[in-house]
């Protein structure tokens, strides 16, 4: 039983946490692809930037003597950080991508431009914050929540941190809000229409520039959320989310590009797969070690931790062989 709880802590909880971050990041990637038809490579750095915005806000709040009784200040300032990052995302679009689109640039040109934006954001962050790591919990305590399992002989507890719990709640709220927006509101439907058929959306009189702006606002806001959640779970550094931009893209593609629910499914699929792949499965077999005809090795993991990132690509390849446009049948071009 203790081994099962160990499994629950290390695969299920860690998988939900990682999956939530991937999912929220991948929604932004998939929305931008659906509307603007290019792979926004700088999305990871937009997440990092959002986390730094939240960090600055937290520092400012704390300097003003503002404290929150139950929640980490970094989480309380998240909505403000989302607004700021959305504004910065609009500015990035206006400054870099919109002029290229106005000249009829092809998607690959926009992709290259977004790599440039990646370098700019990372450079600016290093300029102001250096290349070290920062923590949201210098002055505050990261609360650990332990839930005892009321069974005989069980000594292990189910463990997770308060930020992890908040992250899952925030993800659920964001996903429900996005769903309602896309299926109920006029602008949300216009976004789906434009992702479905941009020419027809224009012909219908839909204000496509407005839709593009709304897309950046949502993508920027969600990027700040994903980045801050990640930084609350680990530590803040200039390449925080750049390192996970590839699994995020894999999640968006696995789910079907342009499909927000595909991105969520893809995010959790890859999140769980990664945590399951690096889990030491030998632990689960330990209670039966005596009755096994061979000696149980100390470590039985599908891949070593350092190779965690490869899992995303294995899943990508397998899913695309089975469904070439992703689980939710997204765009292929």
């Amino acid at each position: 039983m203790n081994e099962l709880i160990f499994f629950f802590n290390n695969v299920m909880i860690a998988g939900v946490v990682l999956g939530s971050i991937y999912a929220v990041g991948a929604i932004g990637v998939t929305l931008i692809f659906g509307i603007l038809r290019f792979a926004h490579f700088a999305h990871g750095d937009m997440m990092t930037m959002g986390a730094f915005v939240a960090f600055l806000l937290m520092t400012a709040f704390q300097a003003m003597g503002f404290t929150t009784p139950f929640l980490p200040t970094g989480f309380v300032v998240l909505p403000i950080a989302m607004v700021f990052t959305a504004i910065i995302a609009l500015g990035i679009d206006k400054g870099f991508y919109a002029p290229l689109r106005a000249r009829g640039a092809r998607p690959v040109t926009l992709l290259i431009a977004s790599i440039g934006v990646t370098l700019i954001i990372q450079g600016l962050i290093r300029l102001f914050f250096g290349s070290g790591t920062w923590s949201f919990f210098e002055t505050e305590q990261k609360q650990l929540i332990r839930i005892p399992v009321p069974l005989e002989g069980v000594t292990r507890t189910i463990n997770f941190t308060q930020p992890q719990l908040l992250m899952i709640v925030a993800t659920i709220i964001a996903v429900v809000a996005l769903h309602l927006f896309l299926t109920r509101s006029r602008l949300g439907k216009a976004m789906r229409a434009m992702a479905d058929n941009a020419d027809l959306a224009q012909v219908s009189g839909i204000n496509t520039k407005l839709v593009v702006r709304v897309t950046w606002i949502i993508a920027g806001g969600l990027a700040a959320m994903a980045g801050t959640m990640l930084a609350l779970d680990v530590n803040l550094k200039p390449d925080l989310a750049f390192n996970i931009v590839l699994p995020i893209f894999a999640a968006a593609i696995v789910g079907g590009l342009g499909k927000p629910f595909g991105a969520i499914a893809g995010g959790y699929l890859i999140g769980f797969a990664e945590t399951a792949a690096i889990f030491n499965w030998s632990v689960l077999a330990r209670p039966f070690a005596g009755s096994l005809p061979f000696e149980l090795p100390a470590t039985v993991a599908i891949v070593p931790t350092e190779y965690k990132l490869t899992v995303a690509f294995v899943i990508l390849v397998v899913v695309l062989l089975w469904r070439p446009t992703g689980i939710f049948k997204g765009a292929s071009t």
Binding site: A193, D196, N197, L200, G205
Partner: protein
């Protein structure tokens, strides 16, 4: 006063002009049909009216106002709607959502218009929750027309509404177009089924190499031996 009047329109996609002086004028009570051989600039004329390509010469007057090179999001509120030939429905969205997108530019209550569209195309009411991509070709064409009608246009531009439909549906779509016109919407359409379309057109325009070759009522054009020989297949 004509609802739309094109005078010596010249335009193209940036290279050599495709339209070399197109003249079209129809009333809101008319069904105008543009026919002509492939490459004559029929669809291009509709796109020029709807601001989808650059007009470099001549004028387009809609409802007394010059509109050349205005973009669709300005034209739709003025009362102009366009149904493209291909990919003219949002396949992943429901029939009802397709209609809602046609009303995007409206700020008033569009439900009476939706009711009107459902009365005109009853099959759409039955299928309103289905994704438009799951419908048959003829039904999709109705969704496309319904979407365009949601902005309460004065003039509906239709690019080959019968393309790809079986003969049985071609007649049905033509009947629907007459019904829409009787409800007070002017129609300007491009058709490959030239003889069939001219038969119910009140105005006909034969284009060749981007210019008018013949202009008249539908009946006049069908009766003209030269039009019949060169453009209607004898």
């Amino acid at each position: 006063m004509p609802v739309i009047e094109l005078k010596d329109v010249v335009g193209g996609y940036g290279g050599a002009p495709i339209l070399n002086g197109v003249n079209i004028a129809i009333e809101q009570s008319d069904i105008g049909v543009i026919v002509g051989p492939n490459g004559a600039g029929k669809s291009t004329t509709l796109k020029a009216i709807f601001g989808l390509l650059r007009v470099t010469g001549g004028s387009i007057v809609f409802n007394g106002e010059e509109i050349q090179n205005a973009l669709p999001d300005r034209l739709v509120p003025k009362g102009l709607s366009f149904v493209p030939q291909e990919k003219n429905v949002f396949t992943s969205m429901s029939v009802e959502e397709n209609l809602e997108m046609g009303a995007f530019t409206r700020t008033d209550d569009y439900r009476p218009t939706m009711e009107w569209v459902y009365e005109m195309f009853p099959v759409l009411r039955e299928k309103r929750r289905q994704p438009a991509g799951e419908l048959s070709g003829g039904q999709r064409q109705m969704v496309a027309m319904g979407r365009a009608l949601m902005s309460q246009p004065k003039l509906l531009l239709l690019d080959e509404p019968s393309a790809g439909l079986s003969p049985r549906y071609v007649l049905e779509i033509f009947e629907q177009i007459v019904k829409v016109n009787k409800a007070g919407v002017g129609i300007l359409m491009v058709e490959q089924n030239a003889r069939q379309a001219l038969a119910f057109a009140s105005r006909g325009f034969v284009l060749a190499t981007g210019k008018n070759r013949f202009t008249g009522t539908g009946a006049e054009l069908i009766a003209d031996p030269e039009v019949a020989k060169s453009f209607l297949g004898g």
